[in-house]
Subunit: 235 residues, 2 copies
């Protein structure tokens, strides 16, 4: 059966959050220690007062969103911490045939057309397609399996030492936080996370124009050098 | 903020199920005692073999679907068993700004481009936009509230007696099952469920061209007459 029907959706609102770029977002909501409140701003043409009536009686909501910074997909993806590619439908990767995201968030408050949430991994500006209540009797599946994720649940947490680069003038706290977040989950080479293996056997993490050179010993990650990709500082 | 961006989605597949019409589908998945296996048929242009790789390692999946038989929405809806209208985002009603459905289903089997599921409330032919694994550590929210639904959770189950109409030639087992399903949940007048109050004080349930007249005594629903709306049989 081949069908090419186009179905049209329109944003009902947009996410406002502290995460502005893909690399800043936590790999899983809740992993980030920052608990900044994010929010959904409903658009003007939605009758917010009526549409959200009774919503505050729920503690959590589903946010169905549009991965607007994703333009491509492939049938198989390499998820974080996985050692092999998995079928896209067996992952929560944003790179999928219809770039539709599904996230649960705690409902903090609603006023006017603003729905305050926390614990989200959604990027600032993300279009929101729908908001639904989280209904435990429908959405809680006791005994559901974690699938292939169960095999990697027990992976170690890596300890990241960034002391050696903190004196560099361009190394901000934001960059340090990002390096630690990324490498503590998994310092292995990965194209999406922009970790690569160098010719000298060391590894390198790319963040915008910045490059961070590191070595891994057991569960210890030592970031030993930092430079700018335009060559203004050499490793 | 007013934005009218059109975003385009395309079905990755279609549901095949025993439910062909809206009125046949259970109000909640699992409420129906029939456990017929339903399935998702992926379309030809999806590389099924790769896309579903590793999916069988999960016990449950999310199905993001398109309510293709719904064309309208309003900011407030009257959900089943609720005595007042609720904001659409506080309900799981299919009548919503973007008619996107979210259902969890048990994964039974996968072969070729067929994903067998059970326990679904999805109608036959429903377009599927996405399939994602149900991941307990992300999707199970312990302690989440049932919101306004908690207030109606304790409502009684009505016992439906259809003996008086079973001799009518047009009253099939399918119709009986539908009457019992609908009225045992809530025999109160409701426009979507097509239950109305008659001039004689009795109530009436409409199913296609059929009309069923009933009375309610406490938790007992007695269906006392059945007729055809075209007048070929009178009540």
């Amino acid at each position: 059966m081949t069908v090419t029907t186009d179905l049209v959706v329109r944003p009902i609102g947009f996410v406002r959050s502290v995460y502005h770029r893909k690399y800043e977002a936590p790999r899983q909501p809740g992993v980030d220690e920052r608990q900044d409140v994010a929010r959904i701003e409903l658009i003007d043409t939605i009758d917010a007062e009526q549409c959200v009536r009774d919503l505050m009686s729920f503690s959590h909501i589903w946010i169905i969103s549009w991965f607007d910074r994703v333009t491509t997909w492939k049938p198989m993806v390499l998820p974080p911490r996985s050692e092999k590619k998995r079928g896209v439908f067996a992952t929560r990767s944003p790179h999928r045939p219809n770039p539709i995201g599904l996230s649960v968030a705690r409902l903090v408050d609603i006023h006017g057309r603003t729905i305050q949430i926390d614990n989200t991994d959604l990027l600032d500006g993300t279009p929101v397609l729908d908001v639904k209540p989280y209904v435990p009797y429908a959405d809680m599946v006791t005994g559901a399996s974690n699938g292939w994720l169960a095999d990697i649940e027990e992976k170690v947490v890596f300890h990241v030492n960034t002391m050696a680069i903190r004196h560099r003038h361009f190394v901000t706290d934001e960059l340090i936080a990002h390096i630690e977040r990324t490498l503590s989950l998994d310092p292995n080479p990965h194209p999406y996370r922009r970790v690569s293996e160098r010719l000298d056997g060391r590894r390198e993490l790319a963040v915008r124009q910045y490059r961070f050179v590191f070595e891994v010993n057991d569960t210890q990650v030592n970031v030993i050098d930092a430079y700018l990709a335009d060559g203004s500082l050499t490793a």
